[in-house]
């Protein structure tokens, strides 16, 4: 690691202030950032830890939505959403392993926007809203591409709010060594239609499979996907699987998610 300073503020206002230093960077659970620092792939002048900011931790139900504080761990989401939004609780329960889930946070996951991260798929399919210290951003406008988001420099994800769909499911085809999804599909059936979000597959990061959304909005059954296919162009090819394989997995997993939705 290159040398850095570290601060541990207890309010969002203090954190925003601490981030004004040139090249300062927020530290969530550190499950991605600390390995990145060890590999010397980042050289922040200062880390601003978000883990002591009480107002960013916790889950609350607000009408038909669930609000998750930006510094809430995956472990807490897995434990607390088992009944109120089981598909999202399940997704959180499958991120990495228990030790990673006790530290990693939803804010860190969406801010990082790893092309194989799980939460971005849930955000897009649920139609979630990402709240920062300055504004609310619809998930559709937040994820801009691999590791790219609408966040400005020094902007902190303070919460993510999920409308709870009628039915939903997440299917993760796990890459067994890293436990990241090779492909992950989140299907959510809302009052006004179905949303399907795919992670792990595309070179431009998480995306909505709109053809499947139209077909499933008309007929919510795996059979509705029969005539559809995903173009392998633009899909990730790496040693774990080529683009054509990932494209195929998207359709298979979407069908499974529809059947398993609850």
């Amino acid at each position: 690691m290159y040398a850095f300073d570290i601060e541990r503020p207890t309010t969002v206002a203090e954190a925003v202030n601490a981030l004004k230093t040139d090249e300062a960077q927020p530290l969530g659970g550190g499950q991605t950032l600390i390995p990145t620092l060890k590999a010397r792939l980042a050289a922040p002048s200062k880390l601003v830890s978000l883990s002591a900011i009480a107002e960013m931790i916790g889950i609350s139900r607000e009408g038909s939505t669930i609000r998750i504080g930006g510094a809430t761990t995956h472990g807490q989401v897995a434990t607390e959403l088992a009944e109120s939004y089981p598909a999202l609780g399940y997704l959180a329960s499958k991120i990495g392993d228990p030790a990673v889930r006790n530290r990693g946070t939803i804010g860190g996951s969406v801010a990082n926007n790893d092309p194989a991260a799980c939460y971005p798929a849930a955000c897009l399919a649920s139609g979630a809203t990402i709240t920062t210290n300055t504004r609310d951003i619809a998930a559709d406008d937040f994820f801009l591409g691999m590791f790219e988001t609408a966040l400005e420099e020094d902007e902190i994800v303070t919460a993510v709010t999920f409308p709870v769909p009628q039915k939903a499911d997440y299917q993760k085809f796990e890459q067994p060594a890293s436990r990241f999804p090779l492909v992950g599909v989140f299907v959510a059936k809302h009052d006004d239609g179905v949303r399907v979000a795919v992670t792990g597959a595309s070179e431009s990061g998480v995306f909505r499979w709109t053809e499947a959304e139209e077909a499933l909005s008309a007929d919510f059954s795996a059979g509705a996907l029969d005539g559809l296919s995903v173009d392998a162009d633009g899909m990730i090819t790496d040693l774990h699987g080529d683009g054509a394989y990932r494209a195929h997995l998207i359709k298979v997993l979407t069908g499974r998610a529809v059947t398993a939705s609850r």
Binding site: R8, I34, S49, G75, T79, P98, A99, N102, R103
Partner: protein, 167 residues
């Protein structure tokens, strides 16, 4: 910088660089080498400790973030003449070959058995709480702890034995 930690019930003040991880603090500054460094990247679980009662990978924790926190390491749960139920079971069942992953396995299992007793869901069983410790359930709940020697069947037997001893 200075950080105060309670480790295995004793308070310590350590002076360190901002880059220091809890793993290096525990091993090198506090002289507790039971906690192991495998990958140093959060992948293997050899460095698992209990942080305020929860299992975490100490290689991915910066010491500076843990002022005032309570830490338990493998040295804190038992001693050679007074082994914890899990330590005893690992010895009895030969839950290891080289033993390098063992402190992490035991710390992780210590937290895992408590989580199970508190009804924490793993989503392996259809029934979210009150999970029976089947092989599949244990494999998922211990997924963060890799064993390069692949002693998994005996690790699972040891954990099962300890869980039965406790109940």
């Amino acid at each position: 910088m200075k950080t105060t930690l309670t480790v295995n019930g004793r308070s310590h003040q350590v002076e360190h660089d901002a880059r220091r991880t809890l793993l290096d603090t525990i091993r090198d500054d506090l002289g507790l080498p039971g906690t192991k460094k495998g990958c140093d990247h959060g992948q293997c679980g050899a460095c698992t400790i209990l942080l305020n009662g929860e299992r975490v990978n100490s290689c991915l924790c910066l010491t500076a973030m843990h002022d005032g926190d309570d830490i338990t390491t493998i040295e804190g749960i038992g001693s050679p003449d007074r082994l914890s139920a899990l330590q005893k079971a690992f010895v009895e069942k030969d839950g290891y070959q080289c033993g390098y992953c063992t402190p992490g396995q035991i710390m992780s299992a210590t937290a895992m058995l408590r989580e199970v007793s508190e009804g924490a869901p793993s989503y392996v069983s259809g029934d979210l709480d009150g999970a029976a410790l089947t092989d599949a359930e244990m494999a998922e709940r211990m997924s963060g702890n890799l064993c390069r020697c692949s002693a998994y069947p005996l690790i699972r037997e040891a954990i099962l034995m300890a869980s039965e001893a406790e109940t």
